[in-house]
């Protein structure tokens, strides 16, 4: 039987339709450790839930006895503005962290969708990212320390609170994208960056993917350093958004250079007002339930190939593709017109991507599509090692069982 820490769970605790028996809401790291100790003793299968923004990512759980919510773990643990380092509990939302950092004119250079809901623990577990990954990298590049709670309730630390540190194995990075299958993330320490003095977003309209790619290549050739680049496809048109951030003089010069470079290869550039710019960069975050959302990864130069995405885009109502060209990652979303033919097109796209070392992941999909397509695709070449890693961290296979790649 469970103790005073848990409550009977309800519909609000469901993960992809599966309702657990118990629900935990620890309010401190020690309580979370106790909760895991309890679930360990009871041999319960457990999932961790932050803001729930990525709860649809992954296969349905194989089994689920308890959910541990992290919203009670939302304290600022330590913030040293002069060192540009912050430690927070994992249930803090990204917006809360940014508000605290902004008081010292700093920010975490991470901008995944829905920051008002997304928690830092969830962002780490799902490797969530946004347009600024172009310049600042993903969460693994900004996370420098972590407190974990292992499957048996043991609290362990990895990394530290200095940016440069190679003492011991890099547990913080190993937890990035592990989808709650290795351990619970209790606190996280990040490297911060100064808030830029200025920011400017320009948009260049292109007719094709290869035109968009040529704009990106021209930016690179000219040694411009945008903080974000995204090529957004809607209704057959491409809008290449380019954002520069930094000191006023630098942003102005780079924006002017971009205009020149684009003009030279035959494109006109529109510089957006601040509110328009915010709207442009938030497009990927526009969230509608029931939509299909795919994450596509390939060599950057490959996604521009018109034949690649077109068959899938053609079968979606309200289709949008947000392509981060320097990363080689695109998020495609829309409402499937008809599940069966769409599933065929998606599988076909996946096999093309995988053949060239890429991948296709269903971030979210209607049930009819999930029935036809595995969320993660084929097992990666090092899957046997991943299984061994899982077995070491979670020998009872009780943490988020079955949701990750190959049923991990």
């Amino acid at each position: 039987m469970t103790g005073a820490l848990s409550q009977l769970a309800g519909n609000a605790d469901a993960i992809l339709g599966m309702i657990p028996r118990w629900s935990y809401r620890p309010r401190a790291v020690a309580e979370a450790s106790e909760a895991l100790r309890e679930t360990h003793l009871e041999q319960m299968r457990v999932a961790f839930v932050g803001g729930g923004t990525q709860i649809s990512l992954g296969a349905p759980p194989q089994a689920l006895d308890a959910v541990i919510h992290t919203d009670g773990l939302s304290r600022l643990v330590e913030y040293a503005p002069s060192d540009l380092v912050i430690t927070v509990e994992a249930g803090m939302t990204l917006s809360q962290l940014q508000t605290a950092a902004a008081q010292h004119h700093q920010r975490l250079a991470l901008d995944p969708p829905r920051p008002e809901l997304a928690t830092l623990g969830g962002i780490i577990a799902t490797n969530a990212f946004g347009p600024r990954r172009t310049q600042f990298g993903s969460v693994r590049d900004l996370l420098i320390g972590i407190t974990l709670i292992l499957a048996d309730g043991t609290v362990a630390k990895g990394g530290g609170k200095v940016v440069k540190n190679v003492a011991g194995f890099d547990l913080p990075k190993v937890l990035c994208g592990s989808l709650g299958t290795l351990a619970m993330i209790a606190t996280a320490t990040f490297r911060l960056h100064p808030l830029p003095e200025a920011s400017a977003t320009s948009v260049i309209a292109a007719r094709t993917g290869s035109q968009s790619w040529s704009i990106v290549q021209a930016i690179k050739a000219a040694q411009l350093e945008p903080s974000s680049i995204a090529a957004v496809w809607t209704r057959g048109l491409w809008n290449v958004g380019v954002r520069f951030e930094g000191f006023r003089a630098g942003v102005a010069q780079q924006t002017a250079r971009l205009r020149e470079i684009a003009a030279k290869i035959g494109f006109s550039t529109e510089t957006l007002q601040d509110t328009q710019a915010d709207g442009f960069w938030a497009q990927e975050g526009a969230w509608i339930n029931g939509r299909l959302r795919l994450k596509i990864a390939s060599l950057p130069s490959e996604i521009q190939r018109p034949d690649l995405l077109d068959p899938v885009l053609a079968l979606l109502h309200g289709a949008t593709s947000t392509w981060y060209p320097t990363l080689g990652i695109a998020i495609v979303s829309g409402v499937p017109a008809e599940a069966e033919s769409l599933s065929r097109a998606v599988l076909d796209l996946r096999s093309k991507l995988v053949a060239e070392g890429g991948s296709l992941v269903l971030i979210d999909a209607p049930v009819e599509v999930r029935r036809e397509i595995d969320v993660w695709g084929p097992k990666p070449p090092s899957f046997a090692l991943m299984e061994r890693l899982k077995a070491r961290f979670d020998p009872g296979r009780r943490l988020n069982p079955g949701r990750f790649v190959g049923g991990l």
Binding site: D83, A156, G357, S382
Partner: protein
């Protein structure tokens, strides 16, 4: 430390030789001596045999053979490491990757390069320079150290303040683990589904397996780079300048600090014409031209306000290179002012620099030794060089003790025992002071997933030997269960 392990039998030697060729299998005592230490020369162990494979397949065969013979394996790049990471374990086979030095593939359009582990760090940037690209991590040993060694140590360098470490630039790799399995992890395409095994391997100091191929991210050269050299009465003012520059929202590519003794050594060893001052900063700002123009002038203003005596800008690229060669040759330059030295690699929060330097100075005076400081000030990565004379009885011991005390200061300040040199054999004893038993046990889970038999580089990183035990893990009953108050299931 010396080893009295006999070399391998003729039979074992013949088996290794049948894989790599007789010329690439070293058992002669004199030749083995070359491999008995790395850049940390105070630790020496003669290996049983050194094998130099020429291909991933040969690496795999050699690993299988070593495992069958029960020999521990120590991977080795160029042997420039400063923590004894490539120090042979007792009775080990050293696998040297120096022969595997091909650049396999370059893809400028998608910004990556695929190389074998024996490729020299600087050769990557040289190869890319004509096309305007480079590889960012730049350890001071970059003209001799290998990419494989960089991956093992998660090497940094002066410019990692802005650009990050090796782990931020490795996109994929191939490796051989203790079973002889050849694994492929990551690749030129980002976000391959599954665990981030790359993060486990980069910086694992040769304890998880041997890397046989690496895919690196490459960067377009910045449009503009400005360098300046500022002198200060003491490290106090120089430290204040560093804090001021960071507070002014400037992210320099590099800010290096040198104290009086380090400047004296560098002057004695190289052609720089630096004045005799209490401290100096060498700084690079890079990026788009207008951004650099602004940040450089801001940074200089901050340095002057903090008490800079003089700020110099190099007249041309040649002078800039001379300045940087002076800084990068700092460790070697110590030979001009001291017969021996120990280099430490502790990290502290940047805001603690001035205070910690004072604390080190006090300890140094008490020990009757000298410490030269040359370090990556932007990220608080100290490199105190403890100077001593091994010919003076007891001084080496004193120097090692002082080095240890400096690490403890770093731990107490909330920092780390190593910022880029690795734990290796040298700092393994201090791991238990920085991490709890539970932390080390969690790290060991990672090692056990890759190398349950502990074949690779035993005795490194962890303070005490750790076994992996049963894969399923031992069930530990809770106190309540033992007392009968709670049951299982």
């Amino acid at each position: 430390m010396t080893s009295d392990h006999p070399p391998v039998s003729d039979q074992v030697r013949a088996r290794f030789a049948s894989i790599v060729g007789a010329g690439n299998c070293i058992t002669e005592d004199g030749e083995l001596r070359t491999y008995e230490c790395d850049g940390l020369t105070s630790f020496r162990v003669r290996p049983k045999v050194v094998v130099l494979p020429g291909s991933p397949r040969e690496v795999s065969e050699v690993v299988k053979m070593a495992v069958a013979e029960g020999l521990p394996i120590v991977p080795r790049g160029a042997g420039t490491g400063l923590s004894g990471g490539a120090l042979p374990s007792e009775g080990s086979v050293v696998i040297g990757l120096a022969r595997m030095k091909r650049v396999v593939e370059v893809d400028l359009e998608n910004s990556w390069i695929r190389v074998e582990p024996g490729v020299i760090n600087l050769e990557v940037s040289k190869r890319l320079a004509p096309d305007g690209y480079y590889y960012a991590p730049d350890p001071s040993s970059q003209s001799v150290c290998t990419i494989g060694g960089n991956v093992a140590e998660n090497s940094g360098g002066a410019h990692c303040l802005k650009y990050g470490f090796t782990v931020n630039h490795v996109l994929g790799l191939k490796m051989v683990i203790g079973t002889g399995e050849e694994l492929e992890i990551g690749g030129p395409v980002l976000d391959s589904p599954g665990y981030d095994l790359l993060a486990a391997v980069v910086g694992s100091e040769g304890t998880l397996g041997i890397v046989t191929e690496v895919v690196l991210r490459i960067l377009r050269k910045p449009e503009s780079t400005q360098t300046f050299f500022a002198t200060f009465p003491s490290t106090d003012e120089a430290g204040a300048a560093v804090s001021g520059i960071i507070a002014a929202k400037i992210l320099p590519a590099a800010i290096e600090m040198m104290d009086r003794l380090a400047i004296a050594a560098i002057k004695a060893a190289t052609h720089v014409d630096w004045p005799d001052v209490g401290a100096a900063l060498l700084m690079d700002v890079d990026g788009p031209a207008a951004e650099v123009e602004h940040t450089a002038s801001q940074a200089i203003a901050v340095a002057v306000a903090a008490g800079a005596i003089e700020v110099r800008r190099p007249r041309d690229e040649a002078e800039r290179m001379t300045m940087w060669r002076g800084r990068k040759g700092a460790f070697a330059a110590m030979g001009r002012i001291s017969p021996n030295y120990i280099v430490q690699d502790g990290v502290i929060p940047r805001s603690e620099i001035a205070r910690v330097l004072k604390e080190i100075e006090l300890l140094t005076q008490k020990a009757g030794l000298r410490v030269a400081n040359v370090f990556h000030a932007g990220d608080g990565n100290l490199h105190p060089l403890v100077l001593y004379d091994a010919a003076v009885h007891g001084q080496e011991r004193q120097a090692k003790d002082l080095g240890g005390e400096i690490l403890r200061i770093c731990i107490r300040a909330g920092g780390s025992i190593t910022g880029e040199h690795g734990v290796g054999a040298d700092k393994a004893p201090y791991m238990a002071e920085m991490f709890s038993e539970a932390d080390l046990t969690a790290m060991n889970l990672l090692r056990c997933a890759f190398d349950p038999k502990g074949t690779f580089n035993p005795g490194k990183v962890f303070p005490t030997p750790r076994l992996c035990g049963d894969q399923r893990g031992k069930y530990l009953p809770h106190a309540l269960e033992i007392s009968g108050e709670a049951g299982r299931g």
